[in-house]
């Protein structure tokens, strides 16, 4: 296929990540995903690996393997993240903070770094990191989550500056409330609170999220880098 891209997405065993996999496969792309869980994968043109993105050696090997197998990486969607119950900062255990730091900051850092090495040599690439609406909204009870998701935003902006001369763009999306298997565990009160804080007070679909990614990975956005799109929110 003429416009077939090799798209690497982290955190694809379920939820938004899995939804993105299905969308980009339906658009005729090759998708390479990863997650901590073992999954059954029968999807054509989808290559899933069991990877812990906080393990530097595992990520290095995985990215090299992708490069060898597919000869390039056109797009990275750094999506892997943790969702845990919200607690006020005064009662949040350090272990919760550490797990967010590991996955959101360390994991995102390692994956973006290794994929960047491939993209620099290609002189082309699109990196999209997934942060959260909790960053602009500063939601109560999300201090550890929001602090680490905020780090993703600034990390992406710095990377955007560093990679600008190489033809690689880096942008961030803060998804609105998207109903997936993962959000079934959220209370209705919490969902209502979040929707009330959004400017567009409705849930969003994975397709709407993918439409934004489609814009970032297309040739028409080659001059757009270091930007943050917050779905359904005026910031």
């Amino acid at each position: 296929m003429k416009n077939c891209k090799v798209i690497v997405i982290t955190g694809t065993s379920r939820g938004i990540g899995l939804g993105m996999v299905k969308y980009f496969l339906s658009q005729g792309h090759i998708v390479v995903g990863c997650g901590r869980s073992k999954i059954k994968n029968n999807l054509e043109n989808y290559f899933y690996s069991e990877i812990d993105i906080t393990d530097e050696k595992q990520v290095c090997k995985w990215i090299k393997k992708i490069q060898r197998t597919h000869n390039r990486i056109d797009v990275l969607v750094s999506n892997a993240g943790l969702v845990k119950s919200s607690l006020l900062m005064t009662v949040t255990p350090t272990s919760i903070l550490s797990s967010f730091i590991e996955t959101h900051i360390l994991g995102t850092y390692i994956v973006c770094r290794e994929v960047s090495k491939v993209m620099i040599r290609q002189k082309y690439g699109r990196i999209i990191t997934i942060s959260s609406l909790s960053v602009p909204l500063l939601l109560r009870g999300t201090s550890a989550y929001t602090a680490t998701k905020s780090a993703i935003v600034d990390m992406t902006k710095v990377l955007a500056k560093e990679l600008a001369p190489t033809g690689v763009t880096c942008n961030v999306i803060n998804p609105g409330l998207i109903e997936t298997g993962v959000t079934k565990n959220f209370s209705n009160a919490w969902k209502e609170m979040l929707l009330n804080k959004q400017t567009i007070k409705s849930t969003h679909s994975i397709e709407e999220l993918c439409n934004i990614i489609d814009f970032f990975i297309g040739n028409r956005s080659s001059c757009v880098t270091g930007q943050v799109i917050s779905m359904g929110l005026v910031t």
């Binding site: 290095c60 090299k64 960047s116 090495k117 620099i120 040599r121 001369p165 190489t166």
Partner: protein, 101 residues
């Protein structure tokens, strides 16, 4: 395993490959004193990253093993005074490939 002289040659080949690919502007002649990272480096930061990735690929081609160049693993590297010569990298390549058949 890769000898020190082979490692210097490998770094030279990697530089040549980057030059051919248009990733560095001018042809570079490497010896053990050549600065590849630091104030007197012949590469900018992007060039250095690209060189490291190219060297990793060359080692993999030659040894058929996954080898990764990680700055933290290079004994002579000090993050507070970042400097690397081709000779230091060559010694590190010898070290990390010594147990590979």
């Amino acid at each position: 395993m890769i000898t020190y002289e082979n490692a210097i040659n490998l770094i030279q080949e990697s530089c040549d490959s980057l030059h051919r690919g248009g990733l560095i502007d001018s042809k570079v002649i490497i010896d053990k004193e050549t600065h590849v990272l630091g104030g007197k480096s012949i590469f900018d930061s992007i060039g250095f990253v690209t060189l490291f990735a190219e060297i990793e690929d060359s080692i993999m081609e030659k040894t058929n093993s996954d080898v990764f160049l990680i700055l933290d693993d290079i004994n002579e590297f000090d993050i507070d005074t970042p400097f690397l010569s081709a000779g230091v990298i060559a010694s590190h390549i010898v070290e990390i490939t010594k147990n590979i058949d």
